[in-house]
Subunit: 655 residues, 2 copies
């Protein structure tokens, strides 16, 4: 099938129901109407981010810089040539890692979501040409993977352990869903469904028992089911979830935990192994729960989440403590200097928490989306959008050796394993899909950012115009245009105390409910102004005493933003390594910084405690005494490393 | 050459001069008489360790358990079959890592040193049979490497980056030196010199410019030169040292630092990369300095040592902070939980420090030998001698996932990369070679342990009988049998204050000199008793404030021994993770523990500060208050994990 209309693909025509009379184009996660989702995502067209707002500006940079950068790099670095050489259209060796196709697919997905906001010829060309290339490369039975086709044709669909074939397939499916939903064109979807059908034939109910070493296919198959209504895809995703933890992947030098194949998903409630794999798997399990009928899956996911959040998550929302295997560590093993904190794991956490939010309606998942998005995900990209971190340390030491791309001193243009940049691109291109939801009672606003939200609620249409400088300013103004009764639910983040609300000029006493939302139910009139104020006094955070790596330290935060000290902002003669702050003293917020991208800094009193000449280990050495008093300045962590390499730390030793 | 007498090998006959009239058998490191060594090692026969003493007992366990264990495992795990299959005497695939031959060589070296203490048929058989096998496998031109011969014969001596061919060759040379010196038999030496001669032809002065990715050949060639007096070996070692740091190894995913190929050795004075490589290289450079004429090499090694000791060494003397690449971290990056602290790196540190001691006569190098031997090396093996650690964490957390052999919860029988057990075996078998030295003034005693030391000093023979329960007891009795005037130098470790000395019953005021030794010069009479007392009050150590990972913690030590808390010894209801101790309060030493292998424990007052139910990150959370008072008991770190897996920590949080 080439250049087919989306409606010609089975099931597609009915796939975008969101409770509206006029079906809108569905976003990245669109549970079926019959699903167990408590909340329904809005359609892609229902949320427009304002480029003047924080998320809208980011989406604009993503469109103008990051996405073209990714497209240029999958060309330059050989990912597309890997595909072309299968058909004889390119020479030379296969380049990059065996799963290089996945970077093409993530870039396609990003292009897909971006195209929902209007035609862009360069993106259209990239999608069309790449789709044609993929259709050419695809074999008659649906198989498609440039590494195995081009390098090891004898080993196809046999090396699930490290082969990444179903991982790549999952990203292709997600890209196809994005392009189909955004553009209505089914040409990429045709390629994807042929590959998915091959997987169904080979690994479906009566087929071979296998799972992929890198989860991803599970959540992708569920989304393809949501789009096409083809239940075989959901069944295959369910089967992959159920087969996990039975040792099908065999032994590995990193252990079965690495692949989350050490225990069935209902028992594997301690996060282990490769962080991205763990979180993609969790997203897949949650999707299977949402479209299925088994409550035990949700219970397992809730237990996993609680374990993760209480013992293995960085204060930035990042995941993964170990470089060696890109993995979670033991409980409370959270080193800031060697935090792996892979950008892809942050993206994966965002994806999983969204599914948990849809499943439960609980604001704690939206809180976590906010934390990871504004801190751990955002740190992965430079202010200009063309440089990236793969690992995201929470501390960079003086004297750091940044020659290894595993732990560079600043963001790099691209990586040997370039999974993160296109992962960022696809998330940011689809951010509008994660801002708000609806249910039978009304609308829920989860992420505060400037823009417009519209929805056809059961009683009629509603429109919100959101004006806010969140996360920098405390007050958000929401103009509600509607003429019927419904409930507006606004999330109050757990970090916020004493939120204030007024509706049409009248203060309203607010007390978030058990899910963490304040709910305003009324018969709305056009132009009703809702003012939500989330006070953001700077906060001084301490870690659980078992987090050995940051004992005796504090971190500064304001609103959802975690701050850090970077050497650039400290006074001359105050080496970052020697700065101390008082444990109980909060810094003050100062707006109007002249550093680009940093509207608000935190300023506090510090001390320079010099330890020059001290031995590495000494008897009876007391802590260095507080020295010279200095004013120290913290910037948002996600904006570090935009001014050249310099020592940085999120966790500041206390005096 | 087969079963040849050692004297038939060129140069061997004059190789063991130690200033004695009757040349003794040289030990592992034997600088030439014309070398720049300030101190001369004693001959192998000159030092006999008493099995009742600490080091002698260890050497006995090594002989009876560890060495047979290694011999059995190089058979069972296929290392010997890898060699046999080259000659058609074994079937099956190559097993293990490409450098599997090196484990055979290290085991041979250990057997060699052990044979110096008397014939042992099983060891003799192992040496002879393995030597015959190696001679069969060796090609006509001297080439010998079972991986390349058996798996990639087309790639010989071309893949220096990861091939490890010269690394393996170095271990063969060292084994051959051990067997030749200990037994006088040159059959293995004949194999080794043929391989060394190939390297000289191929990579000598006018040959190809190459270095091995894993240093080891350098120090081995120098020792072969010392044994054979063949200057081409020294020249080749010198050339390898001089070629390092010029990028010959090319780019690598871990970076040139990993191989210490980022800068010439005189400029590379910050320890970097793979710790074992760094330390073996340093030993080779120091050996080249010792036999050469270039003071700048020693200056560079001293600077490297100072950097290492002041910013990158664990309190146990261990090396290597990172699991990913078995490497040093940034300055002060010394996590206890993820300490890599490879046993081989500890062995390598011991080797290098011995060479620095010989070069300079400075006791700080012997202090470091003592620290690393008694703590970091010793932790690598179980009490019984048949289980081993590869990585040596300084903390094991509650809830540790020990399923990965990279970070097990206890010592394992063997490893996929089994470099450490035979490395331990060869060091312990040769420990008597590292106890004492001589120079023109007399004898120097560096390691205190029960045994006998004899030497033919310029003025006549001398004998010391050393009676001591060091490192557990403070006083060492040395009976000197001699009848002429010379100087007895006794090292006073830097950790010791107020050492006391008496000679023939008379107290002598002692004040260590700049090198760290007390020196007693007198005309000795047979049976003169010297009593050295090194007071060992338990010490409370703190780390430099820049060692973030152990901020707010102390470590307990007594004498040269670093202690740790292991859960086994703590009161019920006192989880190790919640124990605190007072920062300024020293524990007391208690002798007579009933735990095997632990003569002295440290007992102190602790507090149980429970943090149950606290959030991972919380605003304004103060440190947990001191709770219930408990008595906590520390054991020597090197004896941990002998009673089943349990949480352990060297660094204890303070209250």
């Amino acid at each position: 099938m080439e250049q087919g209309d989306v409606a010609t693909v089975r099931g597609l025509e009915g796939s975008t129901e969101t409770g509206r009379q006029r079906p809108g184009r569905a976003g990245p996660v669109a549970p079926r109407p019959a699903s167990r989702a408590r909340l329904r995502p809005l359609a892609l067209d229902d949320v427009a981010l304002d480029p003047a707002g924080h998320l809208g500006a980011w989406q604009r940079v993503n469109r103008d810089v990051t996405l073209p950068h990714c497209i240029a790099h999958v060309e330059e670095r050989g990912n597309l040539d890997n595909l072309r050489r299968v058909t004889g259209r390119a020479d030379g060796d296969f380049r990059g890692l065996p799963f290089a196709d996945s970077d093409v697919y993530k870039t396609l997905e990003a292009a897909g979501w971006e195209l929902a906001r209007g035609a862009r010829p360069a993106l259209d060309d990239f999608v069309d040409q790449t789709t044609r290339l993929l259709a050419d490369v695809q074999e008659d039975d649906g198989y498609l993977n440039s590494y195995f086709q081009g390098v090891h044709p004898d080993r196809k669909l046999r090396e699930f352990h490290w082969g990444h074939e179903m991982y790549c397939a999952g990203h292709l499916l997600q890209a196809a869903v994005a392009v189909a939903r955004s553009t209505g064109r089914a040409h990429l979807l045709a390629v994807a469904t042929r590959l998915a059908d091959l997987l169904v034939r080979r690994f479906g109910e009566s087929g071979e028992e296998a799972i992929d070493g890198h989860p991803e296919i599970e959540t992708a198959l569920v989304e393809l089911y949501r789009l096409t209504n083809e239940s075989a895809y959901l069944q295959l995703a369910t089967r992959f979830v159920e087969l996990r933890g039975r040792g099908l992947l065999g032994p590995d030098r990193f252990g079965a935990n690495y692949f989350q194949d050490h225990a069935p998903v209902r028992e594997a409630t301690e996060p282990t192994g490769h962080a991205v794999r763990q979180l993609y798997l969790a997203a897949g399990v949650t999707d299977v729960y949402l479209e299925g009928a088994d409550d035990t899956l949700l219970a397992a996911m809730e237990e996993l989440w609680e374990n993760l959040l209480s013992t293995k998550t960085y204060v930035t929302g990042a995941h993964g403590s170990r470089h060696r295997d890109e993995a979670y560590g033991d409980p409370y093993e959270l080193p800031p200097d060697r935090a792996y904190a892979e950008t892809c794991a942050a993206v994966a956490s965002f994806h999983w928490n969204w599914r948990m939010l849809l499943a439960t309606g609980r604001g704690r998942y939206a809180d976590e989306m906010e934390r990871v998005l504004y801190n751990a995900v955002a740190a992965g990209t430079s202010l200009e959008g063309d440089r990236f971190f793969y690992s995201n340390p929470l501390q960079l030491r003086a004297g750091h050796d940044g020659t290894d791309e595993d732990h560079p001193s600043g963001r790099l243009e691209w990586y040997r394993c370039p999974c993160c940049p296109p992962n960022l691109a696809r998330l940011v291109a689809s951010l509008n899909g994660y801002v708000a939801t609806s249910d039978d009672s009304g609308l829920q606003l989860h992420l505060l950012t400037a823009g417009e939200v519209t929805a056809d609620l059961p009683g009629g249409p509603a429109r919100l115009r959101v004006s806010t400088a969140y996360p920098w300013e405390e007050t958000t103004a929401i103009t509600v245009d509607s003429e019927h009764e419904w409930t507006l639910a606004l999330r109050v983040p757990a970090w916020c105390r004493e939120a204030r609300l007024s509706v049409a000029g009248d203060p309203v006493a607010v007390s978030p409910d058990a899910d963490g939302y304040v709910r305003v139910r009324r018969a709305w009139r056009p132009g009703t102004e809702v003012l939500l104020t989330l006070p953001m006094p700077p906060r001084v955070l301490a870690a659980h005493p078992r987090v050995d790596a940051v004992r005796g330290c504090v971190a500064w935060a304001r609103g959802p933003i975690v701050y850090c000290l970077e050497q650039h902002d400290q006074p001359a003669g105050a080496p970052l390594e020697d700065i101390r702050v008082a444990a109980q003293e909060a810094p003050r917020a100062v707006a109007g910084s002249d550093v680009p991208g940093i509207p608000v800094v935190l300023v506090g009193q510090g001390y320079v405690s010099r330890a020059d000449g001290r031995q590495l280990y000494a008897e009876g050495a007391a802590a260095a005494p507080d020295g010279e008093v200095v004013e120290v300045t913290a910037i948002p962590y996600f904006r570090w490393a935009n001014r050249g390499p310099a020592p940085m730390r999120v966790w500041i030793p206390t005096s």
